[in-house]
């Protein structure tokens, strides 16, 4: 299938001609990989939070409520990256900031109040159960969103 390769440039030209929000750059180039990782986190955090709430909510209500909030924020961020306009750019920045604050606060609380965070959630121990990706992801997200915003202002 050499054709897929050739179609690629033609498709990019067509996409460029279409009048689209400059903020759609959010989900192009490296933004694609970012959107995909957010999608994976949205899916897996929702699955895990759903399981925790259905099966063992009484064990750690605080931690599991935070799991649900984390899942919702990942879903919001994913949708905003996919939509890619001015408003969704702002909402995406806000959700990255909330995410980062969440990882830090829950990370600290899981060490100072281990009894409330005995069972792991996405954000406990600074996301160590998920290879610290929850800690790095909002920073990468903010960097990328800032880069997209700066390019648009420069243009």
């Amino acid at each position: 299938m050499k054709k897929r390769h050739e179609i690629a440039s033609a498709k990019q030209d067509r996409a460029a001609k279409k009048s689209r929000s400059p903020f759609s750059a959010m989900h192009t180039g490296p933004g694609r990989a970012l959107t995909a990782v957010y999608g994976v986190f949205a899916l897996s955090a929702t699955a895990r939070a759903g399981y925790q709430v259905i099966r063992e909510f009484d064990v750690a209500p605080v931690a599991y409520s935070l799991s649900v909030i984390a899942a919702v924020i990942y879903i919001v961020a994913t949708i905003c990256l996919v939509i890619g306009n001015r408003t969704s750019h702002r909402i995406a920045i806000a959700s990255c900031l909330i995410e980062f604050a969440g990882v830090i606060v829950v990370g600290i609380l899981s060490f100072t109040h281990p009894e409330d965070f005995a069972n792991p959630s996405v954000w406990s121990s600074f996301g160590s159960g998920y290879g610290f990706i929850p800690l790095i992801l909002p920073l990468v997200g903010l960097w990328w969103l800032a880069l997209v915003g700066r390019r648009i202002r420069a243009a």
Partner: protein
Amino acid sequence: MFTVFTIVLYAVSAVLVIWSIVEAIRNRPANTMLLGATALLLLLLIVQLVLSIATFGSTDGIDPLLYFGYVITAILVIGLAGFWAFAELSRWGPGVLAAAGLTVIVMIERLDQIWQ
């Protein structure tokens, strides 16, 4: 779990991840072969689902919601990533596949832990 089958799952996912990273570095969109490998992994995960439904009665102490939640999420991740890589005609098609493949490797490990 099913030892031999689990090893096959690990091997196919690992090949998919490495191959995707190589293609992404070479700046190529996902070709038919790579999409075929993704389809193979998807098929194997569905076989895993069927096998575990068939033998679930012989196990005890496994929460079906937890176990099948993982299996179905893994199937969704690979299915969606495969569709994305098919539609995406840039290096980020394989990039998405690599991210999905890594996720599935972790999920297979979790499945194996839950089954024991």
